[in-house]
Subunit: 447 residues, 2 copies
């Protein structure tokens, strides 16, 4: 039984009556592993612990695991939220040593080995795995968060979807030409894979999906501007692939602004370097910072809030506390590992194997090593770039590989079928499957 | 060009420059038909006017047409909102005499033949078709609206989805047995087709889809109570079908309370007759009232706000103003026509034919006549009741007919494929495809 409530004073603990039979009643004490976060890292850790004699509790503030690589499709009306989100309970329903807790974590009491929740509840642990992910990093300009939403969770994706769809609706009603132009200008700050994928997708929506849909504007007049501080888009990719990606973006009608920074953002536009651009929609795709797990653990963090971990993913001084995924700063060959799903997945499996070894009394000295299977990105319909070490390719083949790999990574057979159907349909017809503005989000901006 | 803005005083009118060529420039004056509402009636009216020499403007506060008969599936995590909502612009994109306006109507100026919008905008009309639908009717207890959401639009469906999913999450964390029972009690007020379909679906989610998903509660202990003031559920259906439907509901574990009224609702329960039931989730499926169109038109309305129309669907004294669908009180053989999609569709086609005749200078004396093709409802997975006059059937065959007819009525080939896939998948596995609580809706009720 895992949840406890502190009532009145901290020595009084109410333990709930378990509704189901607990494993400990059959086998005596079993170590309690608590996982915070059900993203790629946390969920994989839970799965990898399925057959060990431990009691697993996975805590997430949401009831679902989110497949972030396809968030840009939710933001551009191609997929519904539930197409890329699966209930954590259902995924782990048959894993009998595991329970799922939908709750918000407030902190960690490392002395008493407890995870603190809301309403003075707490969960005890023997091993703790922290996999709480990352949020958008506004690099000291948090006041921009309201003006320029990021693309890290479903709320933000739906906010971007609303803003893009409502901008065209407002433009259709707008008599003033300057205002209409600003409504049809979209600035994306940050040219990493997320920015590139989102820019390509917005361009396609505006220039293709919306044709014949309006009577007073030409959606193909829409400007999509992608800003990247470094000299080229997708700086983490090889130059040859970046060049092809940039060419494809330009073909789709995306304006590229390389080597220049966004200096300010206000309600009606941005300063790109010294250049003022009127734009009613600005989207932040520039970077991420880790969750506040570093504070819970009083651990050393880097400038992006990532917790410095040792070579076995533990934090210094606590051999039973692991930090994995985007929350961790794990070094390999002198460089930090990137915030990618495969990194989190491999770290999760490694930590589970470490716990297994300890339980079985084995020595486990091998440090974590990330094996890079490659990186890829997709730019609009039918174009992808894939970098698998010596093999690199682009174009339709790259897109098919991207789609194949990502559909396999998606959880749930039904979601795979639906996402495959939607991508195929959209490839043929340019239609977007989820082009709706929910009633509560209707703002009807004045014209 | 259809939108006008009153700036300063009402005699000064700004007319926008059309971005596209307007038909009137080629053929001279064409009558302007304005349709308010893009539900079944409004959208069908627009389509039926496609090939006439008129300028059509269809106004809706949402950007999508909603397929209401499947709303209960959104409310019970079976379908995503976009699966049953299609963008109005896309549906009418190739219909060149028609423009779509996403806007909120404030009223109608019948003297000057204008529809009034927000921000002092207005749209002139020669013919006006009002098809603004209905909302939940709390029969004088509007304070219950917050306690017991209805099921008339996507927001309400998502609210019901959140409440049902969050109730089980809270029950899983709740140590107090009485509170846990109240969290797992669901009261549906109103046993018409909506209440019956929703009750069957919630019962199936609790008793089947959720099995193995929780560790501290048995979701099958959930109580689903369906209350109907009349002597039997679905009083508009023949007694033989109702009896079978009631038996099926009881098999699914739904408690039926016939011939008794809900006397009061508060935050933690309801009074059903003189019987207090503690329930954290109450859903209103009892009845509808028409939109406020009657006030706009200063027209005679019945006690449910429906506008009294003449036999040609016009209102008294205004031969160019039609009211159709759930907003209209149309009498046939001394009884009001029911608020069903087929009624709205047939009325829309009739009104379009009337406008066609007038434009062509023909007499058109035939009054509207509704042809009843039958009614049907579905109760859980694999069970439907169908009443086609002399032919009546129930069970799996009824369910298949229900599904076939409703998938055909859905708009968009992609949505048809996806909905068919989801129903089939759910039939086989009991899994629900959209079991997510959006982050902004996470309330984490205290335990």
């Amino acid at each position: 039984m895992n949840i406890h409530t502190t009532q009145g004073n901290s020595s009084q603990v109410t333990e709930r009556t378990p509704a189901s039979t607990q494993p400990e009643q059959q086998t005596g004490y079993m170590p309690r592993v608590v996982i915070i976060g059900a993203g790629f890292g946390g969920l994989q850790a839970a799965k990898s612990l399925a057959h060990l004699p431990v009691k697993v509790t996975i805590i997430d503030r949401n009831n679902h695991h989110l497949f972030q690589p396809m968030l840009y499709q939710v933001a551009t009306s191609g997929l519904s939220p539930a197409d890329i989100a699966t209930p954590i309970r259902e995924t782990l329903s048959r894993q009998e040593n595991t329970e799922v807790l939908m709750a918000t974590v407030q902190g960690v009491n490392m002395q008493e080995q407890r995870v603190l929740l809301e309403h003075e509840q707490w969960v005890p642990y023997d091993y703790l795995i922290v996999a709480t992910g990352a949020t958008s990093n506004y690099f000291g300009h948090d006041e921009w968060a309201k003006l320029a939403p990021g693309l890290k969770n479903l709320d933000e994706a739906l906010m971007v979807r609303d803003r893009v769809l409502l901008a065209f609706e407002a433009a259709e009603r707008e008599p003033d030409e300057e205002k209409r132009k600003a409504l049809m200008t979209f600035v994306l700050v940050g040219g990493g894979p997320t920015g590139v994928e989102l820019a390509g997708s917005i361009a396609e929506v505006a220039h293709k999906s919306f044709s014949h849909n309006f009577r007073h504007i030409h959606p193909s007049d829409a400007r999509i501007i992608l800003v990247e501080g470094k000299a080229r888009m997708m700086p983490s990719f090889p130059t040859s692939l970046t060049n092809k990606a940039q060419k494809k973006l330009q073909q789709l009608g995306v304006e590229l602004r390389n080597g220049v920074h966004v200096e300010s953002i206000d309600q009606h536009g941005v300063m790109i370097g010294k250049d003022r651009v009127d734009a009613e929609t600005v989207i932040w795709t520039a970077g991420v910072k880790a969750s506040s797990a570093g504070q819970w653990l009083q651990a050393a963090v880097d400038h992006d809030g990532r917790v410095k971990v040792q070579r076995d993913m533990t934090i210094a001084g606590h051999s039973n506390i692991f930090v994995i995924g985007d929350t961790a700063l794990a070094m390999q060959r002198g460089k930090p590992l990137p915030g990618l799903a495969p990194v989190a997945l491999q770290e999760a499996k490694y930590v589970a194997s470490l716990i297994e070894d300890w339980i079985q009394g084995k020595e486990h000295k091998r440090p974590f090593h990330y094996f890079n299977k490659g990186t890829m990105a997709t730019i609009g319909r039918g174009f992808g770039v894939v970098d698998i070490g010596i093999i690199r390719f682009t174009g339709l083949m790259g897109w098919l590989v991207w789609l194949f790999v990502h559909i396999l990574l998606l959880m749930g057979v039904q979601n795979r079928l639906v996402v495959f159907l939607r991508y195929t349909w959209s490839y043929i017809t340019f239609q977007r499957a989820a082009r709706i503005i929910l009633p509560e989000h209707n703002t009807h901006p004045p014209i």
